[in-house]
Amino acid sequence: MSEGFRLRVKYQITGRLAYLSHLETVRSMERIVRRARLPFAITEGFNPHMKIAFGPALPVGAGSRGEYFDVRLSEYVDPAIALEALQGSAPENLMPIACAYCAHDADSIDVTYPVSVWCAVLDAGDVPVGDIEQAFSQLVETGFIEVVKTKGRATKVKRVEFEGRLIDGPHVAAGDDAVTVEFTTFQGSDGALRPDKFISAALEGANADISLMSLTRMELCEN
């Protein structure tokens, strides 16, 4: 049977839709593909569904300038036409921005793009930027964060080391109204550093009235 055409779509998540969970994003994007009337392929078996695969999950509350999904098409559609159809079927804040075909046997999105560039915008009020820089430096020196996971009544604490996961930054900079923190993470088979947990751990250490205004994945990159 023909493997069809593997269309890789890049999309943005902006505004309030940053609060969608990964599953909600997946479901919404599948509906966008159907509304766009792209000739998607479906799986065979008991519960037939669209052949579609997504990249790494974003934390709830984080936006993105470039996420990816691969959808298998049973017929060739000009990528520009596919993009136009997708854009016409998408809400403004969950918008496809690029389409291109990739090889059938190309690596999955997770494997192709294991690197994430993050930008956090902080409302630091009167807290000097130096204090924020120091809080992040101290956290990086610690070398890990502890993430608490609760499932039902059970609580599990997981230690996440920075080595191999935090590969650049954090770079703290003062803007006109806010402080930005940029850093780069690597997600491999042994897990990733959650950017929201990293930021909140640093802010806890700063012991000052600083709040996270936004968190955005600026880019998913090759290694």
Binding site: G15, R16, L17, Y19, L20, S21, L23, E24, R27, S28, E30, R31, I32, V33, R34, R35, R37, I42, T43, F46, N47, P48, H49, M50, V60, G61, S89, P91, E92, N93, L212
Partner: protein, 639 residues
């Protein structure tokens, strides 16, 4: 008016709540302010539960479409936030706002709250309080919105009466728009709130509770302790207010848009699929069923209209599943044809069609094969009672052979999972009837296993759900009582003993919630005090098992003189005025009494959409008859 947009304040709370997608709005298909620039009348439709429950409600979707279709009206939506968000909103002094524009609900002209079931009563108060709207109609001034209700509970509106300015009885497609436009007109003329309510009371199907006098009636039942209150009945204060409010009905159902505007949610809903209503009303006449009495007569939608709506709806929404909804979808005279056409068109596309539940007798092998197409999850059937005698008493009209035939046919068609619904506590029930549930389920399980083709695993899943009978207003059992706690305990014991230890999964419902539901279902205006007292004692989200606080209801019952258990287990006297006697769904009281007598005698009454008229009184009152696409053909033993 309408100057505030509270989104920025809500956004600050989203990091701290479960499922923030409940509060985002901006869904595909929602009506934007830009589309309604010329509208000067602002309505908000509300569901007194969370987004994922309310957004799945078909009535809200239909009325949202009808109201927004009018050029003068911009209609938005609002739902009750979950408890975590409610706590944060109260802590931050943030009022409840609409989803489309995040305008405070109290700034709207019209707030329409649907009342889907009795257990939403405390949520109505939570909603109004969170919105900053005075709870009682007599506390509201000219600047407050018109607070309206509709839905199934409008047929006994009294436990809700003091909280609403206006209650819509019957189908709202025309009524809601008519009332909203009349309100707009009266406001523009500078009419006072009192004048507005009086004028609205003249519209057919509108009940204005504040224009009625209340009288307390004694309940003569020895189960009620001396000093406990009776129920109230109402009569109009003035001659120009209708003594009896007849329901509104849509005569040409097929002329309504089959595909109302669809909003595609981000958050997963309880029924997360396209829903197309294929018929309205059900005349099967199950004697416990309120929906079967209040939505008469039957009106079927044309098959071509349904198919076109399904096709257009799937393209417009991006859903991959459609449900053909109604009270009894398998009774549609062209259901097989519709399913066959849809399955043919969906073949190989990953799309599927489903039916909400199937009549046991109507489910032939062909229908079982067609329902759900390629995806076959679990098939739901509702025999309701364990013995033929009791099934005849409740007029269920299905036999054991029907059930076994339906299940074996479904197994042959590929189904392996079954859900069976039963009730205990039905009027006239004996231990033999209760034990009959287990015996019947054993035979169903064995028949299903035997029907699995050779060579295939015989892994049949059978889930049995048993609910407690709740007498509802406007049914033949409206005078009957609920069984007491000792009776429940005994019958549950009998039920459990009748089931095998392995193979069948038995589940029964919580009796405490059923008692509260029963009190409110047959309560008068005195029960509004009970609702308010329970809410003030912390009751809310009563339909959510983990949130239900029975102690709050019991304490409220003691304070208000309405002991919950005693009231629920009281029989009402035939012939005496009832709390809902001023509301009419068209079915005559004589018919209900005759049906109760026939239940006692174990006599069945046939469905008039298949055979001859059963004299319920609806058709002559509304000057219409059942509207069928083709002659209905009885299947099963009744045929």
């Amino acid at each position: 008016m309408r100057e505030s947009n509270l989104w920025q304040r809500y956004a600050l709370l989203l990091d701290q709540v479960e499922k923030p997608s409940r509060y985002l709005g901006q869904e595909w298909g929602s009506v934007t302010p830009a589309e309604k620039e010329g509208a000067d009348y602002h309505a908000v439709l509300a569901y007194p539960d969370t987004y994922e429950i309310g957004q799945a409600n078909q009535a809200i979707a239909i009325l949202y479409d009808c109201l927004n279709a009018n050029e003068h009206i911009y209609c938005e939506r609002a739902y009750l936030p979950w408890v975590d968000m409610i706590a944060l909103m109260r802590g931050n002094g943030l009022p409840l706002a609409s989803l489309e524009t995040y305008t405070p609900v109290r700034e709207f002209d019209f707030v329409g709250i649907t009342l889907p079931h009795e257990l939403c009563a405390t949520n109505v108060l939570e909603f109004l309080d969170l919105a900053g709207i005075p709870l009682h109609t007599d506390q509201r001034g000219d600047d407050d919105p018109l607070v309206c209700a509709g839905g199934p509970c409008a047929y006994n509106p009294e436990p809700f009466a003091p909280f609403f300015d206006v209650i819509f009885v019957g189908e709202g497609e025309e009524l809601d728009v008519e009332a909203a436009l009349r309100h707009r007109e009266l406001k523009a003329q500078g009419a006072s709130r009192a004048q507005i309510l009086r004028e609205l009371a003249c519209i057919e199907g509108v009940y204005v509770p504040s224009l009625y006098e209340v009288t307390e009636q004694e309940i003569r039942d020895e189960r009620l302790a001396p000093g406990a209150r009776g129920y109230t009945t109402v009569t109009p204060r003035d001659a120009d207010v209708p003594a009896r409010v007849e329901k509104r009905i849509i005569r040409d159902f097929d002329a309504l848009p089959a595909l109302p505007r669809q909003i595609v949610p981000y958050c997963e809903l309880v029924h997360d699929r396209l829903a197309i209503e294929i018929l309205r009303g059900c005349n099967r006449g199950c004697r416990f069923c309120q929906a079967g009495m209040i939505y008469r007569p039957v009106r079927e939608r044309n098959a071509d209209t349904v198919i076109a709506a399904v096709m257009d709806g799937l393209v417009a929404t991006g859903y991959d599943e459609v449900s053909l909804t109604s009270l009894s979808s398998t009774d549609h005279s062209t259901i097989e044809q519709m399913l066959r056409r849809l399955n043919r068109s969906f073949s190989g596309t990953g799309k599927s069609v489903s039916l909400p539940s199937q009549r046991v007798d109507a489910l032939g092998i062909e229908l079982a094969r067609l329902a759900a197409g390629e995806k076959k999850g679990s098939l739901t059937l509702a025999p309701e009672a364990g013995t033929q005698r009791l099934r005849d008493c409740i007029n269920k009209g299905v036999s054991e052979d029907d059930l076994l035939r339906a299940v074996t046919g479904a197994v042959e068609a590929g189904w392996r999972g079954f859900k069976l619904y039963f009730m205990i506590g039905l009027p006239g029930e004996t231990d033999e009837d209760v034990a009959g549930i287990g015996a019947l389920c054993r035979r169903v399980y064995a028949a299903a296993k035997d029907a699995v083709p050779e060579g295939e695993p015989r892994n049949i899943r059978l889930n049995v759900s048993v609910a407690l009978f709740i007498p509802k207003a406007m049914t033949p059992f409206q005078w009957d009582r609920q069984i007491s706690l000792p009776e429940i305990s005994h019958r549950i014991e009998v039920l459990r003993a009748s089931f095998p230890k392995k193979g069948i999964n038995l589940h029964w419902h919580d009796s405490d919630t059923s008692y509260v539901e029963a009190v409110l279902a047959r309560g008068g205006r005195e029960c509004a005090e009970l609702v308010e007292e329970a809410w003030r004692r912390g009751a809310r989200f009563d339909a959510w098992t983990e949130q239900f606080a029975f102690a709050a209801w019991e304490q409220a019952g003691d304070v208000c003189g309405i002991p919950i258990m005693q009231r629920a287990t009281c029989e009402y006297e035939e012939g005496a005025p009832l709390p809902w006697s001023h509301i009419s769904a068209g079915v005559s009281e004589e018919f209900l009494r005759a049906e109760r007598a026939r239940a006692g005698a174990g006599e069945k009454t046939p469905d008039c959409s298949f055979t001859s008229c059963s004299q319920c009184g609806v058709c002559p009152l509304f000057g219409m008859t059942n509207v069928l696409e083709a002659t209905r053909v009885l299947r099963g033993e009744c045929a």
